[in-house]
Symmetry: C2
Subunit: 306 residues, 2 copies
């Protein structure tokens, strides 16, 4: 396995001819938090003109597809709702279509996840603030909801000790499903000094208390690609996955047999590619993108001559 190739202007024709469908991660790729990465809306428009199908695959579980639509529009992108595959949607559709879910979900998640659950007519409880009250002797008597048949975890800024307790208690029953949107430990915050904890940190707390691992639906799990295949024609060898994280985006590409392009505007650096090449873990060693490019701004500029 060799190091990723830089996607230069010389390699552009070969790259463009290699795909019909192009999957984009969003944060760190098309935008950084609320700032669009220059010229990426033009890139999406240009790809459509060229007959390519852009699709959007994000592990972020804080927004519904509708909320993502609003964000895309606000940042100047022309995107339709059915092109968006976010993990709030993924969790709801997994429960509805794969588990044929009846009963109620204990949901550690965001208002965006609630919106998707409502759209799919899934009963849930657990969202919003839930701090402890009283002593441990009181919690022992905490009322449990016998209708709970799944624990679902996404990003939740109101995560609390009591939520760990309830989630871990519900999944003691092995017939209760245990799913998570993603396992990202943290999110970068540009120049800001803070570490924004990801869903992965919440999931780890519950997994440790429960002694049981969640089924993680988001990237790099190929469920995202399976879902796309139900709605779009997707030929893996004619598809490129574009992302900023090796262990989610690029790994998804490998898991689903797609071509891969790493952009350097987000989490992973070229030095991380080198670390993967030298890793003792075979999964890391396999996780090398086919191409890398500094940013999609550069790709937009290259494509302007096409």
């Amino acid at each position: 396995m060799s190091r990723a190739k830089e996607l230069t202007k010389q390699l552009l024709r070969q790259f463009v001819d290699s795909f019909d469908t192009i999957l984009f991660d969003c944060d760190g790729v098309l935008w950084q938090s609320n700032d669009v990465i220059s010229k990426t809306p033009a890139l999406i428009a240009k790809l459509r003109d060229m007959g390519k199908q852009p699709l959007f695959v994000t592990n972020n579980s804080t927004k519904s597809r509708r909320q993502y639509m609003e964000k895309f529009a606000k940042l100047g992108f022309k995107v339709s709702e059915n092109e968006i595959f976010c993990t709030a949607y993924l969790a709801a559709i997994y429960l509805r279509n794969i588990l044929n879910f009846q009963g109620k979900a204990y949901l550690i998640g965001s208002p965006g996840m609630q919106e998707e659950f409502k759209l799919f007519d899934i009963n849930y409880t657990g969202t919003g603030p839930d701090p402890v009250a009283g002593e441990v002797e009181d919690w022992v008597k905490i009322p449990l909801d016998p209708e709970i048949k799944a624990v679902v975890i996404g990003q939740d800024v109101q995560f609390s000790y009591k939520k760990i307790l309830l989630a871990a208690t519900y999944i003691r029953d092995r017939t209760v499903s245990f799913v998570a949107t993603d396992h990202e430990g943290r999110h970068p915050h540009g120049a800001a000094k803070i570490v924004e904890p990801g869903t992965g940190s919440i999931v780890s707390a519950v997994e440790t208390a429960a002694g049981r691992d969640a089924l993680v639906l988001g990237k790099p799990h190929k469920f995202m690609v399976d879902l796309i295949k139900e709605k779009f024609t997707l030929e893996p060898r004619r598809t490129v996955m574009v992302g900023d994280r090796l262990n989610t985006d690029i790994q998804l590409g490998k898991n689903a047999d797609l071509h891969t392009l790493l952009v350097l505007t987000g989490v992973s650096k070229l030095s991380d590619v080198d670390s993967n090449l030298e890793s003792s873990d075979p999964t890391d060693r396999e996780c090398i993108p086919d191409y890398y490019i500094e940013s999609l701004t550069k790709l937009t500029e290259y494509l302007s001559d096409f």
Copy 2:
């Protein structure tokens, strides 16, 4: 390595003659939550009469030594404060004596830990409720305390998302120490159905967000035994560790070269000993107690003839 021997009445003389010091874990060994395990106060008294030194080593970080004294007294034990080694005390003395700590600690912990920190004159912040307020754009501007030079994690029922964020942010600076009292994922609750999350679940959340591992001071780390050696004469080969958990109590015994006795009134079962014997992990295979006994009630009865 063979299976643990049952500590029968026939083996009692050999057992008693083998030690001068006997370390007891507390919950699941001497009591279960707030119920004393029958005849254990008499056992401690009897051991003293026989010239043995009992000491008490617990990973529970919710109580100070003073608070433990009260609990021992309430349950009918005669124990002095300097015989108690709990992890609230361990964390404070580690900062004071090992780190020669200056500055302030960001403390995720209990009122018991606060009491020990005050006794050792360690400045701290972070305890009590701390839920999120506002949007992520606000947290980016969260004021950080430049005096923080350590993040210390113990059991905290007021654990929250914002505490993960602050802890992970402080330990981004590798010169900031990162210590935890213990790594127990959960605590049993007798017949009750709830899972009580342990410090380990809190630590996992922060470790995952930070991408950095805590130094865990409690059992099975032998720091507990090092601390005892500063205060008492302790000859490892003349010492028995009595506990209900293989991966903390019995592992501490192995790590510190002590004799070990497993009681079956708490977390680990005889089937867990069998699992360890068959484990592919060499640490598990090593972690087999010398003896086991159903409960300390039985040991008290055996000893009544001595």
